[in-house]
Structures are given as structure tokens and as C-alpha cells.
Amino acid sequence: MAKKGEIKLLGTPASHFVNRVQIGLNLKCIDYEFISENLGCKSDLLLKSNPVHQRVPVLLHANEPPLIESLLIIEYIDEIFPDVHPILPRAPSVRAHNRTWAYFIDTQFFPLFEDLRQSPDKKGEEEAKIQIREAAKLLERVFVECSDGKAYFGGDNIGYLDIALGCFLGWITFSETLNNYKVFDETISPRLVEWAKKMRSHEAVKNALPSHDALLKHYSMIQYIKPPRTA
């Protein structure tokens, strides 16, 4: 197991990609030091650790070179700490399926919320919400297929896809409150409604999801830097 102080995580509390890594580290019972980054004034450590993208999360493990990209960090910690709470499934075809859907979550699902935020008018907002609910319907099908009747995408325990999607639950609640809609609801995604409740109450997840204040602060910053499109 990692010694105390051996693992450091550069991040911001409101980044769901950072929260993703935090959930993974929590599940593996790994002690880590969280180094909070100010994305408006990035530290030399961040710029040196991730010169290509200059973004969080970055995982620093002892004297090893920095690790970047949240899903890759999850795979890394799963490989170096295989005995505690395995995250990725064993069978290659199931692993491939998980990776494909994590890619979908990152490249197709999450951006829909940015589309909603940037919508110039009510019509744009409603269209974005429709897209989100369609994607939620698809994720419900994936959940039913993966969970095989159990509580999580990973089955009895939180797995890779639970982490890939679950890191965003803070932002989902925030978006729902702000825009007066439901991402997962009883009519189109009842299993995901239950899943979200279980995830939010799980120790490894609830301690990683950001507070409402952190989300609001981050949201306000984004609204300022990248305001909604004009109609």
C-alpha cells in the first residue's frame, strides 16, 4: 500500500475529472495529499507535470513521472494496487466494453451539459435537455446490461463505469437545480435513479463530490470566462 505522503493529487475540488481520481483513491483506501490548483494562475508544478495540456488532475506517485488523464490514472492505480477493491473487470471483452462506454461518457455525455450551459436561449436549453435525457436513456440500457440486476455498473461493487459516470453526480445535481429538470428520472432511467442514490451515499464517493459552494464558485468562473453563446 502507498506510504503516507507518497501520493499527491493536483486538482481543483470542483473538477469531476479530479473527483474521479479521488473516488478511485478512496476505494483503494490510499492516503494522498490533495494539492489545490488555482486554474486562473497555474502552479509551476502543474505546468511542469502536464506541459501538454496544463490541466488537472495530475497524480504524483513517489518519484515516478507525473500521471495525467483521469481514466488513465484510474487504470494505473488499479494495476499497482490490484488487491484492494479491483476496479476494472477481468475479462478482456468486458474491459473493452467498459472502456468504450467511458469514452462515450467523456466525449458524448459530459459535453451535453456544456451545450446546455452555453445555450443562448430557452429553445436551445430545451434542445440540450432533450439530448441529455436521450443520453441518459442510453446509459440506463448500459447500466441494465452491465449491472446484471445488481446495484452498480460493476455489479456488487463500484467499478470502472460507476467511477467514470459517478464523478459527475455533483454537477448533475447542480445542473438539475439550476435548470429545473431531471437528468435521471423514474420514467426513463429508474435504475440510474437508484444507482445515483447509492453512489451519493457511498463513503468513497460522498467524500469526493464537491460542495454546492465549490460548484457555484467554479460555475461562476466558467460563466465569466466562457459566457453563453448569443442568439
Binding site: 494505473y76 478482456p92 473493452a96 472502456r99 468504450t100
Partner: protein, 230 residues
Amino acid sequence: MGEVKLFRTWSSPFALRVVWALKLKGVEYETIYEDLANKSSSLLEYNPVHKKVPVLLHNGIPICESLVILEYIDETWNEGVRFLPKDPLARATARFWAKFNDEQVFPSFFRYFMRQGEDQEKAKEKVLENLKFVEEHLKGKKFFDGEVFGFLDLVFGWLVCYPGVINKAINLKLLDEQMFPNLCTWMEQFGDVPVIKETWPDEEALIHKFHKMREGLGIYIYTKLRYEAS
């Protein structure tokens, strides 16, 4: 090890990396060529969400996304040559650079190819900036993974052929030896690997295709990219 089919287009560099992987592992497979303007019902069944190629079908189970397919092939046919390094840190690093290629390098190259005038010049700056990172990553190494080629060489392998063919098609040079000595040396060495050398699409057909794409004729849907209209 079961029946293997590969749904692909004849020209896609993403399909080629899967072809290389299967051939290097000695896996027998059937190729089904897709016309992206008229996708088969099989493709729509096996990749209903994205409707993209390549798709690998192994014993009836579809695997989508070329990087996912490469890892699947490496994990499933796991005796003999392995593509990904054993060390977890090296694996994470390789995966990062693969993602960088697919999300940054290749799309920026495609934009450079498809734009004109001032837009093309701006696009060129971006692709050169991306390639400089790759050049630096190759420093002191024969292949991306060291002395022996592996996962990342398959991922970046498109660089050996496509920029050169595009240059022949529309006189658009990108990689020169002074700016990218490591990349150019690697291109020669990786390009010399028999499996790589023997599987490039027909050059004349590629040149014709690139002309068509630039002229905006024909229907070409590049399903990998969310190409922004200029």
C-alpha cells in the same frame, strides 16, 4: 481462438492500426469493407451508438473504438508479442500519448489538410505544435516504446504514410528532417517493418480520395472527427 471479423473502410488509418495488430499477432480474420455513405445493417447493429468503423467482431462480440480494440487484441491474444508495456506507469504513459494522437495530433492534421489560406496557416501552427511534443517524446528512442515497436508505434503509424501521400496529392508538406529529426528517423524504421510496409492502401487511390475531399466532391464522412465547418 474463435471467429474474428473486422469492419473497416479501405483508407482509414484507424482501421489500419487494427489490421497491423491482428497481423502481428498472427490472428486470422475476415475483412468487411464498409461504405460510410451506405452503412451495412451489421455495422449499425454492432455499433448502434456511434455507427463508426473500425469494429472488431470476436465470437459475435463487437468491440468498438480502435484504441479499445488494440488493447483488447493485446489482452486476448496474450502469448508471444505484446504491444503494451508491462510496467503500469509505462502503460499509462503509452495510453496518454495514444489519446493525444487521437484527440489532438490527428484532428489538427486533418484540419490543416482541409482548410485553405490563412485558416490553413493557423491550422499548420497547431499541428506543428502538437508534433513537437511527439518529437520530444521520441528523443533517444528507436521506437516509441524503446528498442522494439509496440502500441504507440501502431497508434502513430499513420504518420509514415498519410502526410507523404497528401504532400504528393496537393503539395502540402508537413514533416521535414530539420524540424523533426526523431520523427523522420522513426518513420523510416517503422515504415520498414514488413507488416506495415505491405498493408498501406493503394497510393493512387488515396491521392484521388484526398483530391476529392479537398474539392468537396463525393460524400465522405469521417466518423472519427467532429469536424467544425470552416
